[in-house]
């Protein structure tokens, strides 16, 4: 396939463990086929600093936990035609959202994590982005076009959804989508 016909593809990593990106890489030799169809324009796997304009497909891993991620996600949505939420954190909040049961207050969360449960040097960090009151799944903030659940989603499911989406079809998730 000629380079002109490739689509602009991006991956984004928010509040998640990067396991979904690992699972993405676990597509192994299928990545070679995929690489013939895409230009990787933004990703934690590259060194691009600014999310570019005119992205065709973006996969987003992780929930939204702080103001910086919120800003980035909104930018990603504006500049992307098809946005795919990948993994339970992006879809339900999952483990990062467990802090939501602590009084729904970021100050309480920081106190719990850095003071109450600290063995040494109990100090609340100040140089990190401001936490949101609650950790949110993507679809509570922006429009999400497709979802790939799992913790992490199996590489085969990621490949299935990407193949269908790149071919302009709608993936059928019945019997395939498993949380956890």
């Amino acid at each position: 396939m000629s380079r002109e016909k490739r689509i602009n593809f991006a991956t984004v990593w928010l509040s998640g463990c990067s396991g979904c990106h690992m699972s993405f890489l676990d597509q192994d030799e299928l990545l070679i086929d995929l690489s013939q169809k895409i230009n990787l324009v933004y990703s934690p796997l590259t060194d691009v600093k600014v999310f570019p304009d005119d992205v065709d497909v973006t996969i987003v891993e992780g929930a939204i936990g702080n103001v910086e991620q919120m800003e980035l996600l909104k930018k990603v949505r504006e500049r992307t035609k098809i946005l795919i939420a990948i993994g339970d954190c992006a879809i339900t909040g999952n483990v990062p959202a467990m802090r939501n049961i602590i009084n729904n207050s970021p100050e309480e969360v920081l106190k719990r994590a850095y003071v109450e449960t600290a063995d040494k040097n109990p100090i609340i960090p100040t140089e990190v982005p401001k936490l949101l009151r609650r950790v949110l799944p993507l679809n509570e903030v922006i429009k999400v076009d497709y979802y790939i659940p799992g913790c992490p989603p199996p590489a085969s499911l990621i490949n299935y959804v990407l193949t269908e989406v790149l071919a302009g079809r709608t993936p059928v998730m019945e019997g395939k989508a498993k949380y956890g």
């Binding site: 939420a85 339970d88 879809i91 339900t92 909040g93 999952n94 483990v95 959202a97 467990m98 939501n100 049961i101 729904n104 609650r134 799944p137 679809n139 509570e140 999400v144 979802y147 790939i148 659940p149 913790c151 059928v172 998730m173 019945e174 019997g175 395939k176 989508a177 498993k178 949380y179 956890g180």
Partner: protein
């Protein structure tokens, strides 16, 4: 079933003979037609709580829970349709959003009836905002754990305790979405005077709300236990 007469009905176009008083679910099961259900369990009374076994009955705009609706002569039942799938999917989403279900850290991950149904019905995200409230985890028993944060209130545990073990050590407090499984009169499980520690509650729990500490849940769970005990007793 104790019905005296025999009725004929159609389930998914298949002619089925059933005893009067028998439920649609029971008749369908005998005909080899599987209807999804979370609260229903062979060997226990029907509760009609989870609403996953809803079916369509010709001539009525309402949907009927198959586990509590008795068969009648000439009834025409549909157990699978786009409409039913739509409502079942919605029900699963509501069950998942009501508590902080996090499959990734749950002991029942991979051995969970709710998770399996979510997969079957393609629940790949939740269309409603999640409740993030935390309920107490009872760790006072020497090996049984009760985590209401994972409970879907199917009441299988309290029915098996009451109807099979004959103890009724478990019950429910509060109402609606605030409902919680309790031991005795909301005591710590470890100090319960009625619990016999028989584990049947853990065996029938469809999710990971009651489990045996330090035991793989695949070994604990046994959906057939109630029916098995009943059959043994009748011998």
């Amino acid at each position: 079933m104790s019905g005296t007469g025999v009725v004929k009905l159609k389930i998914d176009g298949v002619e089925v003979t059933a005893n009067e008083g028998e439920t649609i679910l029971s008749a369908a099961k005998r005909a080899g037609i599987k209807i999804p259900a979370l609260c229903y369990l062979d060997g226990l009374s029907s509760y009609g709580g989870c609403r996953l076994c809803i079916v369509e009955v010709k001539g009525s705009p309402r949907l009927f829970p198959a586990c509590t609706t008795p068969v009648s002569n000439g009834m025409e039942v549909t157990t699978d349709s786009p409409k039913l799938r739509k409502y079942r999917k919605m029900t699963i989403e509501l069950l998942l959003s009501e508590k902080p279900h996090i499959c990734a850290i749950c002991i029942a991950n991979g051995n969970c009836e709710l998770q399996d149904l979510a997969r079957e019905f393609g629940v790949d995200h939740l269309r409603v905002e999640r409740e993030w409230k935390s309920q107490k985890i009872d760790l006072s028993h020497s090996f049984l754990v009760l985590d209401n944060n994972r409970c879907i209130l199917c009441t299988r545990c309290l029915r098996v305790c009451d109807e099979i073990e004959g103890v009724h050590a478990l019950d429910i407090k509060m109402r609606g979405k605030d409902s919680q499984i309790i031991i005795d009169i909301d005591d710590d499980w470890g100090s319960s005077i009625s619990c016999t520690s028989c584990r049947k509650c853990a065996r029938v729990c469809p999710v990971g709300a009651i489990y045996v500490r330090d035991e793989p849940i695949s070994r604990t769970k046994n959906k057939d236990i109630a029916q098995f005990i009943l059959l043994r007793r009748r011998r």
